[in-house]
Assembly symmetry: C2
Homo-oligomer: 875 residues x 2
């Protein structure tokens, strides 16, 4: 039996979506619901697959099946394809499984030629309509199928309009249209060396092929990339009998939504154009009118449409985006699909539909894109003031939200200008931890280098500041306090606007709108806790971050990076003294100064976390990063510490590393300088004892050892930590509970996890570093080829954004299996950027992770993802 490549609309239904695309499947659904749909058939994605794999030729079976189905349409419409007196005209549209609005091609009025246009004129009793349709068809076919540029066609019409001194297409007379048609045909002949095809069968064949090919056009590939749609899904083709919104003034076409897609309000919403075809709305040639006008002018049709909208929403259990056409007062639905919506609307619609008992709790949760939630938490550009021509350049969307501010080129200037009350955007080639004061003072950061997990990106996300990174066409002239962007020069104090949600950079000021967290948002959050199994913690290096986390109901701190504390103004002097000291005594003196300061930091955290688990990571930092970088700071430090700048320079030189990522950091430092380990342990445990006593709490601090690669490291450090703690217990004459864990960041740690598991209470997977080492990929340097790699399909996604399940994930699973085997009580966490990535969270849930810890503003995303993971597992 030949393969079934074509489904008539009566055969279609939503279970065939993978074959028919959503458009085709929904046509079948609508037909079943007795909604007025023009007869149609759908060519499957398998036919597309055949076409693409067989050197752009269609299966013979397909051709036969198309003919058979054409006959069915002819029967239902009582008109005939290629018949010059009673012509059947077709719309031919792409239709992918996942909706890709406007990304692929559509051809209307197919079947018209020099003869059928006369037939249509007579049948419709409207010559102008027929020739306008023919003009439209040649133009669309010319553009979409034959590849003639739209500008060429547009120029013809524009010239004629200016010659005739008319403004609107609708004012074109019959003769004008005929003249245009003649010119169009000449253009096609000239550009393609062939005549415009008069045979409707050939028109249809070419149109179908063109849609198949359009799956791989640049625009479609780009869209799929941006929206993480798999290339192999392919498109179906829908062939449908035309209905004409441009027949007369009792006709029209429009788009409506069963609820408001911007606000989510449960209110019918839409717009329409009288005497028009769909393309008139899409192309923006004419400005449509609000749907309320339709209510006044064609009440019956309006009420019918409203009813259909309700029916469809109820049927599909989601807000519908409906295209309709009225032909001579008769309403047809062209297509319906689940409507795109703003994040805010998504939350409201899901919560409303839950209240309306239209969907279940699980469905409501699954309905919301986790990633979109973060957008609710940040300022955004006012859509009213926005158009793409304002975009100056584009970088990576490193930390979401939008900001307008005066540009500065150093952390110091950021600090100074901010003190004067200015809003500033800091522009840097890349940031380093010593810029932290400036980062704190600015509203946003723009960097030339660094990916989504660069220092600037990670720090700004944690702080809820805006960041656009990796803007390679920044030419920063730091000394001149200037930046050149695409030949435009901006100097210190000039205004820029950056959008960390899209990565766009704009010149000047653009109005912003504030986020408002709705009741619906809170309702959703509460709902999530009923389902999710993963514990959600926050990465917090200071009180502020912990507090933001708590407003999003985190269950603990999963990662407190003590080295970030070291950069605070009151500590950096002692820290640098410690690094520069050649002797244990010198280091010890500096550490003695640091101890009370670190203890105070931990007191603040433990106090605000009120018994919630708080994981403190011991120092994990290349020492040289703690030293100043520019000349002036070095001289200043030399003065403060009363040593020569030469000595500081020598030390900086000695500590310089070729590959700091793989260098002297993490537990390697802690093993080599036990005094640091002891000081930090002391600060943590003394703080916990103090807080527990003063505020009657039962804090159980969790100490985690970074960058573990060998069991001996854990043995040595555990011994140091426990001896220090026991000493404190003796001194304070009291005890507390505590936990010791290991960061699993080095591939070897995962490989020998069964040995580590015996010694610790928990593992914390540092998936950023684990990804870097497992893939041999520096997050700071990979931008040079990452785009190419994603384009070529080597990586499906940026592996620093979404966990590489096959490689890093395999290693994690291996590590977990071995470890749990040796220590059933081992608690497993993930901290880092992946801990807030929805797809990664599904994976973490599946492999048995107990908690994820992410930056404060990503907590809602993680929470929703965790609930989704649990729900998807149930089903």
């Amino acid at each position: 039996m030949p393969k079934k490549y074509v489904y008539f609309y009566t055969e279609a239904n939503k279970d065939l979506k993978h074959l028919l695309g959503s458009k085709g499947a929904n046509l079948g659904e609508m037909k079943k619901l007795n909604i007025p749909v023009s007869p149609a058939f759908t060519i499957t994605t398998q036919a597309c697959s055949y076409f693409l794999e067989n050197n752009f030729t269609c299966s013979k079976d397909l051709e036969k099946q198309i003919l058979n189905n054409l006959k069915k349409i002819e029967k239902e419409t009582n008109s005939f394809f290629a018949n010059s007196s009673n012509p059947l005209l077709l719309s031919v549209r792409s239709g992918a499984t996942v909706s890709m609005p406007g990304m692929m091609d559509t051809i209307l009025n197919l079947g018209l030629n020099d003869k059928t246009v006369i037939g249509l004129s007579k049948k419709a009793e409207n010559q102008r309509f027929a020739y306008d349709s023919y003009r439209r068809f040649i133009q669309m076919f010319g553009e979409v199928v034959l590849g003639v540029s739209s500008r060429t066609f547009k120029k013809v019409i524009d010239n004629l309009k200016s010659k005739k001194k008319i403004e609107e297409d609708t004012e074109l007379k019959l003769e004008d249209l005929k003249e245009i048609i003649t010119t169009y045909k000449k253009i096609i002949k000239k550009e393609t060396k062939k005549d415009f095809p008069q045979d409707p069968t050939i028109q249809l064949k070419l149109a179908i092929n063109s849609i198949f090919k359009s799956w791989n056009n640049k625009r479609a590939i780009e869209y799929r990339l941006q929206n993480n749609i798999e290339n192999k899904l392919l498109t179906a083709v829908n062939v449908q009998a035309m209905v004409f919104g441009n027949l007369n003034s009792d006709s029209g076409t429009g788009v409506c939504f069963s609820r408001n897609p911007a606000t989510g309000e449960n209110k019918f919403y839409g717009e329409y154009l009288i005497n028009a075809q769909g393309e008139d709305i899409v192309s923006g040639v004419r400005t449509p009118q609000p749907i309320s006008i339709l209510k006044r002018k064609m009440k019956d049709q309006y009420l019918q449409l409203l009813k259909i909208s309700k029916t469809l929403e109820k049927h599909f259990k989601d807000m519908q985006d409906i295209e309709f056409t009225i032909e001579n007062k008769k309403l047809f639905i062209l297509q319906t699909r689940n409507g795109k919506r703003t994040p805010k609307a998504a939350v409201k619609i899901a919560m409303d539909m839950l209240d309306e008992k239209l969907i279940t709790q699980k469905e409501a949760i699954l309905r919301i894109d986790p990633e979109s939630l973060e957008k609710l938490l940040h300022k955004s550009l006012d859509p009213k003031s926005l158009n793409n021509s304002l975009i100056l350049t584009k970088g990576l969307p490193a930390s979401p939200g939008a900001v307008t501010g005066q540009i500065v080129f150093s952390a110091k200037r950021a600090y100074e200008e901010n003190k004067k009350g200015k809003k500033v955007i800091l522009i840097r080639t890349e940031t380093s931890p010593e810029d932290i004061k400036g980062i704190n003072a600015c509203q946003g950061i723009l960097t030339k280098r660094g990916g989504l997990t660069s220092h600037a990106a990670v720090v700004t996300r944690a702080m809820g500041k805006v960041c656009v990174s990796s803007v390679s066409d920044l030419q920063i002239l730091e000394n001149l306090k200037k930046v050149i962007i695409k030949n435009k020069t901006f100097k210190e104090g000039d205004n820029l606007t950056i959008d960390g949600t899209t990565g766009n950079v704009y010149a000047g000021k653009i109005p912003l709108v504030n986020p408002i967290l709705s009741k619906d948002f809170e309702k959703l959050m509460d709902l999530l806790d009923k389902y999710k199994k993963l514990e959600i913690r926050v990465n917090a290096d200071n009180l502020k971050e912990a507090e933001i986390g708590l407003t999003f109901s985190v269950e603990g701190i999963g990662l407190c990076r003590t080295e970030h504390m070291f950069f605070e103004e009151n500590k950096i002097k002692s820290v640098r003294e410690m690094v520069l000291s050649e002797s244990l005594e010198g280091r010890q003196k500096a550490l003695d100064e640091l101890l009370p300061m670190q203890r105070k930091d931990f007191v603040k955290l433990f106090k605000v976390m009120k018994n919630k688990p708080t994981t403190i990571r011991l120092l994990d930092f290349p020492l040289h990063e703690l030293l100043p970088k520019n000349k002036k700071d070095i001289v200043d430090l030399a003065k403060t510490l009363k040593i020569s700048a030469l000595k500081i320079n020598e030390k900086i030189k000695n500590l310089k590393e070729t590959n700091p990522m793989l260098g002297f950091r993490g537990c390697r430092l802690l093993v080599t300088y036990p005094e640091i380990t002891i000081m930090q342990t002391r600060a943590i445990v003394e703080a916990a004892i103090f807080v527990n006593k003063k505020f009657k709490l039962k804090t159980v601090p969790e100490i985690v050892v970074p960058l573990v690669g060998d069991v001996k490291e854990v043995e040595l450090l555990k011994k140091m930590i426990i001896e220090t703690i026991n000493q404190i217990f003796l001194e304070k004459k009291t005890t507390i509970k505590y936990k010791i864990g290991a960061m699993i960041e080095i591939p070897r740690a995962a490989l020998i996890s069964e040995k580590l598991a015996k010694h610790v209470d928990f593992f914390s997977f540092g998936t950023n570093d684990l990804t870097q080492m497992t893939l041999g990929l520096s997050r700071d340097d990979s931008n040079m080829f990452l785009k190419d790699y994603i384009r070529l399909g080597v990586y499906k996604k940026d592996p620093f954004t979404s966990i590489d399940k096959e490689g890093v994930g395999q290693l994690m699973q291996l590590g977990i299996k071995k470890a749990i085997n040796k220590n059933k009580n081992l608690k497993l966490g993930v901290c880092g950027e992946h801990a807030a990535d929805p797809e990664s969270i599904l994976f973490f849930h599946k492999i048995g992770i107990d908690y994820v810890s992410c930056s404060p503003y990503r907590v809602p995303v993680a929470r929703l993802s965790a609930a989704r993971a649990a729900i998807l597992e149930m089903d």
Copy 2:
């Protein structure tokens, strides 16, 4: 039943070596052979273990068993411990399983006190002897057991000798000795706050404990570290009835070897001292006489010793190092062990014994330390001219051999001075590929930074040049052309001598001796091929390296690093042009220039290799490394290429990476710039076609893709390579065979090996990079803590020298298992430093590797290791 902690010498034998140490086990063997041995017993390593694990206390059982065995000695010697008229005196010596000569402690004459010394006087009828023995005992016991410094005791004797105006210890009179004894006792009382113990039982107990403790003294730990002896082996203690070489002039003591330990010659060799105890030889207080003198003076004893030496050699089937004592004309053997020997002697002895049918082929092979072989291939310092006080400083022994030369501080100067015929040593903070011309021109390299696998180390080993790296106390003042080493300043042109075998650096010139490859060496090499299964290949980037490899009978080239070819003078301009070009056209132009040059390089290699497999690795290099580094070179390049230096600087800045190891290199470059892949493929295949035709060969080039992390990379590159090759076949109207392989260097590649295996003919494990990434350890930066890590036992050995079986090895095994499962014909190679490490080779043999590829001068080491691996597997 109590545990047996003590073995009488009649109970001992060589199978108990793990318990009794080699000294104790061999005493038993000698007893069985009826060789005159003074009665003795041995306390086991288990007793040592008990002692160290039980807070420095001995088991009660041990004490009982010692007493029982003491009684047996008393019975045999008919003298009695602690008996004042007929005292039994003991020697107490350490004895580890693996011989650690001079590393641990020995106490002689134990049992003497103020009373027994009188008994001894009477019994020996020699008062001076008895008091001299007592003096020696107090001194040794004081030093070894009570921890008084040897200088304190020496000062007493020196003072007395200068007072009495005598030169030799032997001139000391009885009264002098008594005076010394009194002073010694006072010193001990003063320093230890306790009297010298008079009770022989307490003396014995303290001596035994002290030897147990000595296992962990600094000297012993250091020795084990250097010689890769495991800490857990522990030491036994040998307690033996004293015989006295210092009794009278019919007595004496000495050391002899059954063959010459320096040359290997089968000739009895040794030296002795008349009227002396062993310590007199060891301490260098007196200069011993050659054994030939003994032959004249005491012919019977000499002949008896010679006979025993033969007997023992035959019994132990190895050259013996024998300590003996003659007491009043009666010969006693104190101990025998397999003698240490020079690498040269080792080869000669093994081959001679094989000829003599004393040992089998397998035994002969196992007898030679693979690591020692390389020493035969390089110049060395003349031992006659050498003493440790000449050492200026010490670094890592990065590339073996010794060299004397004038120092220079730049590659350029090295080249210029070498042209003048000078021998030069290049001093650099670290070297980079662009120094290659200077490295070529110099005799040796001294660097401040970089480990055993740093650029300098790898390149010099390949070239057979000397390198000492990681000399942290170099203070290089490059601009002043000076270096300060330990406060001494050396300027350009001054002479230094560096020893890359030991890592020592000497001021001035030191005479060198040339290597001579003996017939025995060649005989050994041939023998190896009968046993080894691993194929041995050479890493060769140029003709010279390939030729050296071939002199050591390599079976192919396992790794040709094409990027090294890029640095040659004729190519570097085009290479840089390629890197700097912004357009495909520009790159293509430069590549077109490079093609004939690369092809020529490959022609040379294929020609010399005569059908032996030759693996060419496609470009694996961060682009910025190909650009010049210093100002002048940049200006020069700008002139040559007629572009602005500013542009070059901008490009260098843009290409700079934070972690180049994890950056834009390897197949990432090849995927992003297909034109490079195509050019290199073309050069390889065109060269092979040319050579095959011209020289009637059947070269099968093996192309290997570096730094693979994903199957898609292999798919893309394989497609490019095959398309290019097919194009060449069409052009040349001929075909050849070829293979395509993948470098397994990224942990992820091992994790997804089953996917890669389907696409390639072979895997080449790049274990250097694999180690770096699996351990998260940069080979260039790890020196900052590697020493501490080895001292603390985190790493047993430098993981860049010896493969980390537990981590990296596990990953390799995992990768191999999965890969072989999918592709049974997959060939597996290892290239990199581990490929010549004996222990690593054992591992590679075991896990199913087919070939190893190492630098030319390491080939004999690898070959021997491979044969050993096969033999060890058989047994």
